[in-house]
């Protein structure tokens, strides 16, 4: 069974994994290397997770050639998909898996952040749990550091455990340059150009948090990771206190990004 496609069941597709990752709805998956799949060590513990484990593994590695009835075939097919998903979660945190996913990420295969301020930042698939059948796959935006539901319903049925809760964070640990700069801009609810007190108060509170965090980071000499940090950072505070209306007009719904006026504290 470890010989690649030695005797494939030609009635079915000869490359199960090719078929799987190219079928509709499975765009998020990358192809797992043959070597990885056939290394028993990588599959440790999965035999208890997957029904018909051996058959499913045979099917995934294209060596399944048993004659079974349709019901059974369906069962094994399902198990194979499940197995592939679980192995996928392990594979994507390996060097090669990360490289493959990074390519997909760069191409924007996983979609773009729906948040307007994130300006179509590419997303990464992730799971909230590492255990199967707990939640569906979610999409992580590295810019706003939040998670979103995939907009297509066909992706909403994928189990989050097929990507795992660590993968996207590991990806940025391994490729720190991919980390997008954060932005301090945000949407401000307004009525006829006036900010609304309840949300504005909350936002001021949040911004205090942010400044506190930046202070903590600066104290340790760590980059804060915000875009245009130098110009904006001192400006934000003062901008809140002083004549704001003078600077941004009615239609400027996003705050921050103030040009650095001659203003030194």
């Amino acid at each position: 069974m470890d010989d690649f496609a030695s005797d494939t069941d030609s009635d079915y597709t000869s490359y199960w994994r090719d078929w799987f990752i190219s079928s509709r709805g499975n765009e998020y998956f990358c192809e797992i290397d043959e070597d990885y799949l056939t290394d028993r060590f990588n599959l440790t513990g999965l035999n208890t997770e997957v029904q018909y484990y051996q058959y499913a593994l045979d099917l995934v590695t294209d060596v399944f050639d048993m004659e079974v009835d349709d019901d059974m075939r369906e069962q094994i097919e399902k198990s194979a998909r499940h197995l592939y998903g679980l192995v996928h979660a392990r594979y994507v945190v390996t060097t090669r898996g990360l490289a493959k996913m990074m390519e997909k990420y760069k191409q924007g295969v996983f979609g773009k952040c729906p948040r307007v301020i994130c300006e179509s930042q590419h997303l990464l698939p992730m799971g909230q749990h590492d255990v199967a059948n707990m939640s569906n796959v979610k999409l992580y935006c590295a810019k706003c550091e939040d998670i979103y539901n995939p907009k297509s319903s066909r992706h909403n049925t994928i189990d989050g455990a097929y990507f795992g809760s660590s993968f996207h964070n590991i990806l940025f640990q391994v490729y720190p340059t991919l980390m997008p700069p954060k932005t301090q801009r945000r949407y401000e609810p307004r009525i006829y150009g006036f900010r609304v007190h309840a949300s504005a108060a909350l936002m001021r509170w949040q911004e205090e948090r942010r400044e506190a965090m930046k202070d903590r980071l600066r104290q340790r000499g760590i980059e804060t990771g915000f875009e245009d940090e130098d110009e904006v950072e001192e400006e934000v505070e003062s901008e809140e206190e002083e004549g704001e209306e003078a600077e941004d007009g009615i239609d400027d719904m996003f705050e921050g990004q103030m040009p650095a006026a001659a203003h030194v504290q």
Partner: protein, 433 residues
């Protein structure tokens, strides 16, 4: 396109039933016929008169008299080239039928050539009227019905638990941005999931509508399909618990799995300390103040169950965006300011307000910072103090004093606006100082 009155349904309902126009409310004809509501739109829309007629399904022949007479003079200087088209049929109607027929023919010719221009003008005009209509009483009511039915979709953010969203514009000027969706649960705007909405101008909804809507209907439950209150509380205690016992691997693992109710440990203490929550904070019930934010609703990056440290190069930096005080009293800037004022007057040093503030902030930040946190927090409290080494060595009392002096200056601006607050308008000019 469904343009004229030959169609069984009106132009407005045809327009609203087009693909991609699902967000639009049907503006009532009464609203459009009231000239006051159209103030200033003439200069914004080319072929204004024709567009208006198209929207109202008014054939130029049988255009209502008031329409004709009132708008004629304005029209004349605006678009002279239309004169023969519009005036002719109007007069024809009044004089004789055969003249009207000839005029209708001319109109037909004109329509054929200009139809697409008028059509797009009509869409633009309708959109601009729509922007005004949905902030009017009948309009906002209609939008409320659509909102209740979920016509606008749901927030894509996981922690908003499918809170219903509203279409808004980020600009009131047409041609700048497409329509966006405003989520009241996280106070953020999102792009509509379907690309067909990317042709809809955001100005047709306007920047005011989103917020005005939720102020008009403060009793709406905006939280989406939140977990049960009890589980929500448990979740938050869970989060608090894991934050407190950060060394405990087991608890940090379970916190990712919100389904499992955690053992009520340290978290409950934190909850017990929570002072009584006001009925209304800054004009909003605490329940409806960004329910999708705050503890338990902030994504926490983890690797193999361990949280990624803030001080990591790729560590979390955006938690502030989704944070919300567990104790909403912290947002009562006016009260805090007053307390600080009193404290300064009494010069007693440690005040309720300052202590309160310091405490709660520390409780929140506990997790991220370790040994050095006390100094960090104090630093923060006294307002973006320069990170000079001095503060590190100061003991609590002097810092508190600084705090109470700093606070007033920061809050002074907001004090003014709070006066209007009791009226329930909750409308205030940010940073009026």
């Amino acid at each position: 396109m469904s343009s004229s009155s030959q169609a069984p349904e009106s132009w407005i309902s045809a327009f609203c039933s087009l693909v991609g126009h699902e967000y639009f409310a049907e503006v009532s004809e009464d609203f459009i016929e009231d000239d006051f509501n159209l103030t200033g739109l003439q200069s914004q829309v080319p072929m204004y008169k024709e567009a208006l007629e198209m929207i109202l399904d008014v054939e130029p022949e049988d255009a209502s008299d008031e329409d004709e007479e009132e708008e004629e003079d304005e029209d004349e200087d605006e678009d002279d080239m239309q004169q023969d088209g519009t005036d002719g049929p109007g007069r024809g109607y009044r004089r004789a039928t055969d003249a009207a027929a000839a005029a209708a023919e001319r109109r037909h010719l004109r329509m054929a050539s200009d139809l697409s221009v008028i059509e797009s003008s009509a869409e633009m005009l309708y959109g601009l009227i729509h922007q005004r209509f949905i902030t009017s009483r009948p309009g906002i009511q209609q939008m409320a019905e659509k909102y209740e039915l979920g016509h606008f979709g749901h927030c894509p953010r996981v922690y908003c638990h499918s809170a219903k969203v509203l279409p808004v514009g980020c600009s009131d000027i047409p041609g700048q941005e497409t329509v966006k969706l405003f989520c009241p649960s996280c106070l953020d705007v999102y792009s509509p999931p379907n690309s067909r909405f990317q042709t809809v101008d955001g100005a047709f909804f306007g920047s005011t509508f989103g917020c005005l809507f939720f102020m008009t209907f403060p009793e709406l439950d905006i939280g989406g399909q939140m977990p049960e209150p009890s589980t929500a509380a448990q979740n938050s205690t869970n989060a608090a618990a894991t934050k407190d016992s950060r060394s405990s691997l087991s608890s940090s693992l379970t916190s990712g799995q919100t389904q499992i109710p955690p053992p009520p440990i340290a978290g409950t203490v934190a909850n017990a300390q929570l002072p009584t929550q006001p009925e209304s904070i800054n004009g909003v019930t605490p329940k409806n103040l960004a329910p999708g934010l705050g503890q338990g609703s902030i994504y926490e990056p983890r690797i193999y169950g361990f949280r990624v440290a803030e001080i990591a190069k790729t560590g979390p930096r955006m938690k502030w965006l989704r944070s919300r005080p567990a104790d909403v009293n912290e947002l009562d800037e006016c009260r805090i300011w007053e307390q600080n004022q009193e404290a300064t007057r009494g010069s007693a040093g440690i005040t309720d307000g300052a202590a309160d503030l310091g405490d709660s902030e520390m409780a929140d930040e506990n997790a991220e910072v370790d040994e050095g946190e006390v100094e960090d927090e104090e630093m923060h409290v006294n307002g973006a103090a320069p990170p000079s080494g001095g503060t590190q060595d100061e003991n609590a009392a002097p810092v508190k004093e600084v705090t109470s002096r700093r606070r007033p200056s920061r809050r002074r601006g907001h004090d003014v606006l709070h006066n209007g607050e009791n009226g329930g308008t909750a409308l205030s000019v940010g940073g009026a100082g």
